[in-house]
Symmetry: C2
Subunit: 184 residues, 2 copies
DNA sequence: CATCGGGTGTCCGATTACGGACGGTAGATG
DNA sequence: CATCTACCGTCCGTAATCGGACACCCGATG
C-alpha cells in the first residue's frame, strides 16, 4: 500500500520541522513547512494535503494549546477531509481528549519516537484518502445502492420493512435489488 | 432541550455506580448498572441506551485499560450508534487518545467533577440521538436531496460539474432541483 | 382444522423520467 | 471585432419507472 503523501508541518520551531522531515522524508516526497498559523487557510486551500502536523503553541509564553485548537478549526473549515495530527510538549489528558473531540485524528507528545510518528502519519494519510474517496463517490446510484444495503441490514433482510424505510414501494425496491445485483 | 436519557453505567465498583447515580439521577430517569462486562452485548442489545459510561479496568490488578477497550469494541459492534464515555483513575495521554481513536466520545478521569460528568453525558446523549436520527433517515429522497446539496456545495454552485459528479445529466439535475426546492 | 397477519414475487396500464439537442449568455483570447 | 469554451435553461420523442393488485407462503392462534 502506497502511503506516500503530501504533508504540511506547522511549527514555529525549526528544529521540530527538521526532525519531522528527517523522520518522514524517506517515505513522503512532499513535506511543506509553515512557521506561522496566520496564513494557514491560504496554504491549506492551495494544496490538497494528505496530512497536517500541527503544533499547539505559537508564542513563547503559551502552553495551553488554544492557538493550535483555533488553527485546527480553521484548517478543518477550509478542508474538511484532511487529517490533522496535533503535537505538543505540554499535553494533558484533558487537552488530548479535547483535541480529538474537535476533530484531530491523533495527538503526539514531543519529543516523539520516530516509529510512532511514522505510524501516525501513515494512518492519517490513509484516513484522508478514504475521506476524499468517499466524498468523491457521490454519484446517485452508488449512494442509492449503499442506502439499500444499509436498510436491508437494519431490517435484517425483511424486504417489506426495508422498502418502507427507504420510502419505496416493494416493486420499486425489487427493481433496484435486481439492478444493483443485490438479489439473494 | 430535553436531554433525559437512558444510561448504562458499567463498573465493578459499587461506590462509583452510586456516585454516578447521585450526579445524574436528577436529570436522567433511567440509570442501569452492570458490574461485569461478560454480558455487555446482551445488555446493550436489549435496550436502546442513549449513553454508556464504561470503566476501563475490571480486575483488581489491571490498570492498562485493555478490558475497557475490548468492551468498547464489543459495545459498538452491538450498537454502532450509542455514545460511550470511558472512565478510569489511571489515564494517560496515550490511553485517552487511543480510547477516542477507537470510538469513545469522551474520556473522564476519576474522581470526576460532577458538573463535568453531567456535561459529558448530556453531550453524549445528544450525539447518540443525532446518530440514531440520521440512521433512521434513510428514505431515498432525503438522501438524494442531501447528496445534491453536498455536490452543489463542492462544485461551488456550478450545475454542470455537480451533475457530472452525481452521475446525472443536467436536465435530470434540474428536475431534482425543482422537485426538492433547491433552485436559486 | 380455518383464519389472520405479515411477508414474498410478479404483472401491466398509467405516469414519469430520460438525455440529446436547441438556443442563449459570459468571459477569455487573438 | 469574431471565435472559442464553458455554462445555463428548456424541450420532446423515447424509454423506464411507478404502485395497486394478484397469487402465494408461513407461522401463530383459537
Amino acid at each position: 500500500m502506497d502511503m506516500s503523501g503530501a504533508l504540511l508541518v506547522v511549527d514555529d520551531d525549526v528544529d521540530v520541522v527538521r526532525a519531522a522531515r528527517l523522520a518522514l522524508s524517506l517515505r513522503h516526497e512532499k513535506i511543506d513547512a509553515l512557521n506561522d498559523i496566520g496564513t494557514i487557510e491560504l496554504q491549506v486551500a492551495a494544496t490538497n494535503y494528505d496530512a497536517i502536523l500541527l503544533d499547539m503553541n505559537f508564542a513563547a509564553q503559551r502552553r495551553d494549546g488554544s492557538q493550535g485548537m483555533d488553527a485546527l478549526s480553521r484548517i478543518l473549515a477550509t478542508d474538511p477531509d484532511v487529517s490533522v495530527i496535533l503535537m505538543t510538549a505540554f499535553g494533558s489528558v484533558n487537552v488530548a481528549v479535547e483535541a480529538l473531540k474537535r476533530g484531530a485524528v491523533d495527538f503526539i507528545l514531543k519529543p516523539w519516537a520516530n516509529d510512532k510518528l511514522e505510524a501516525s502519519v501513515a494512518a492519517a494519510v490513509d484516513s484522508t484518502r478514504r475521506r476524499r474517496a468517499a466524498a468523491g463517490n457521490l454519484d446517485i446510484e452508488t449512494l442509492e445502492k449503499k442506502a439499500i444495503e444499509a436498510a436491508l441490514a437494519r431490517a435484517k433482510g425483511n424486504l417489506s420493512v426495508a422498502a418502507t424505510s427507504l420510502g419505496l414501494s416493494r416493486p420499486a425496491l425489487y427493481r433496484r435489488l435486481s439492478k444493483y445485483g443485490l438479489l439473494p
